[in-house]
């Protein structure tokens, strides 16, 4: 076999494997879409579950997931971004920072069920929030935190050093430099990280299992100390422990479809936002 043929052969396999990966993704999405689309209508999206969750809709689960997204981000975004600014801009590269970074990475690799358990011990019991939106939000926030810190750190590190020196040379302080040059420049990538962590958070089941999620609630949550329903947990309930699992099967696929669409929507937004914002940030 000469080297041209070898190359063709290799490229054929590279292409094949790429196509297989795309194929798997399409298969999953297609399966969910085909099975789920049947039950999707306005009523499904906007009404309460009925008849032991075999009929009606998933509105409270959508609302609950939205609350949890907002709650977890209120907690995780400022904390994560500020931590990243500290480690990248202020802390230098000493032992302490390396330790923080190592711990952040470790935090990211903790299984989400462990976050759930910790959230239950600390927020539900320790701080006595009970099963509540705030306990669930804080737990999901903890889960999102390392992700946000990492992506924000990378975003800040990607800002060219010459912008910082240029700013210092004009008599700007470090804080001014960060606020007016470094941070705006890193913002598209930071936002991307935040949105990706939203899509991660919206799909997590384990952390909300012990901290907020309710099997069924007759009404929408009325405060941050209420329990709430959430899409991933609702899906679990419909698929495994409903009153009539066979009857609620189509509802489960419908719920899965809604969840997947939400996650894809956030991912797509992240991509578009980054493209749009970073266009102005690049020098030719």
């Amino acid at each position: 076999m000469n080297k041209r043929t070898k190359q063709k052969f290799a490229f054929f396999f590279f292409r094949l494997f790429s196509i297989i990966i795309v194929g798997i993704l399409i298969a999953i999405l297609g399966f969910i879409a085909v099975n789920g689309i049947k039950v999707i209508n306005w009523e499904f999206l906007s009404s309460m579950p009925k008849e032991g969750m075999t009929e009606g809709g998933i509105f409270p689960a959508i609302v609950g997931t939205c609350y949890l997204i907002i709650g977890s981000m209120i907690f995780a975004v400022p904390l994560g971004v500020m931590a990243a600014i500290y480690t990248v801009e202020y802390a230098g590269n000493g032992k302490f920072v390396r330790f923080i970074r190592m711990m952040t990475n470790n935090l990211a690799s903790i299984p989400s069920i462990v976050f759930g358990l910790f959230g239950m011990a600390l927020f539900v019991k320790g701080l006595n929030f009970g099963d509540s939106i705030i306990a669930g939000s804080l737990t999901l926030g903890l889960l999102a935190l390392p992700l946000i810190i990492r992506t924000s750190e990378e975003a800040l590190k990607a800002v060219p050093e010459s912008y910082r020196t240029g700013s210092y040379a004009l008599g700007a302080t470090k804080l001014q430099t960060i606020r007016k040059v470094v941070f705006p420049c890193a913002l598209p990538n930071i936002l991307t990280g935040i949105i990706l962590s939203i899509s991660r958070v919206s799909g997590e089941t384990a952390p909300i299992l012990f901290t907020v999620a309710a099997y069924f609630l007759p009404s929408l949550p009325d405060s941050i100390f209420s329990q709430a329903m959430a899409l991933p947990y609702h899906l679990y309930v419909l698929a495994t422990s409903g009153t009539d699992i066979e009857a609620s099967r189509p509802m489960a696929y419908g719920t899965a479809l809604v969840l997947v669409v939400i996650v894809l929507f956030f991912n797509l937004t992240a991509t578009l936002l980054r493209q749009k914002l970073s266009k102005n940030m690049k020098n030719k």
């Binding site: 230098g92 912008y163 020196t165 240029g166 040379a169 008599g171 700007a172 302080t173 001014q176 690049k282």
Partner: protein, 248 residues
């Protein structure tokens, strides 16, 4: 204007500058020449304390600007850097509009008056011989300008905060000959108002723009005199060899 006394400077264990004593006068252009790694840029960055940003550096000796030791504890670094503008080797405009790039220095120094800022931006863009070329795209991204225009924008940005000294670290080395010529013309203009210290690789450039030239090698100031004398009749043989291109 600038006087240094027995400057020794270290990056960790490496001594980058050895016992440098020299003085630069107001409203003159002083050029630093020398082979790569000779310490000329390091020396330049001492004057606005840019070397402070690098970890593990150490300085001995005195650096007086307008009679004050700028490494004294009582010195406000931000105020010092405002008074001593700097232009870098590669044009480094911020990812902001042309207008905001020039306005930046004013804003970070606490100026809020919109009228004043607008006037100042126009004035400094004119001083940097850039206004005519960019007056229609003041609010477009600075990245839309050519490399040469970006460098003049960086000069305008430095001038906006009314420095008395302008440090230029190989300001034309990343530019084409036409842009370089424009920058050199600009330096001639600017010297009426500012004290300029320029580091350059390009000896013709040093000869064209400067009044005095310092030749550095291996961290030492080998020779420092009027540019004319330096290029026509240097005292030291090393200088002669470098200038005639026998090494470097």
């Amino acid at each position: 204007m600038i006087v240094t006394k027995n400057i020794n400077f270290y990056y960790g264990d490496f001594q980058a500058l050895k016992n440098i004593t020299m003085s630069m006068d107001a409203n003159t252009v002083t050029a630093f020449i020398g082979p790569s790694g000779c310490g000329k840029s390091t020396f330049l960055r001492l004057f606005n304390r840019m070397n402070d940003l690098i970890d593990g550096t150490r300085l001995e000796g005195e650096c007086l600007i307008k009679g004050k030791n700028i490494y004294d504890k009582s010195i406000n670094i931000d105020a010092l850097r405002k008074d001593i503008g700097m232009v870098f080797q590669k044009p480094n405009p911020f990812p902001k509009s042309v207008f905001e790039n020039v306005a930046y220095g004013l804003r970070v120094n606490g100026i809020k008056d919109k009228k004043f800022i607008a006037d100042k931006v126009e004035e400094t863009l004119k001083a940097a011989a850039l206004f005519e070329e960019v007056k229609d795209k003041l609010h477009k991204s600075a990245f839309e300008l050519s490399g040469g225009q970006q460098q003049r924008l960086c000069i305008a940005r430095a001038l906006a905060v009314e420095p008395s000294i302008l440090l230029m670290d190989e300001p034309a080395s990343a530019l084409d000959p036409i842009s370089t010529a424009k920058i050199e013309e600009l330096i001639h203009e600017l010297k009426k108002k500012y004290t300029i210290v320029i580091v350059t690789h390009n000896m013709q450039q040093a000869a064209r723009v400067s009044d005095k030239t310092g030749f550095f090698m291996l961290g030492e100031l080998i020779e420092y005199s009027d540019t004319k004398k330096m290029f026509l009749n240097p005292d030291k043989e090393t200088t002669q060899n470098y200038i005639t291109g026998r090494f470097g």
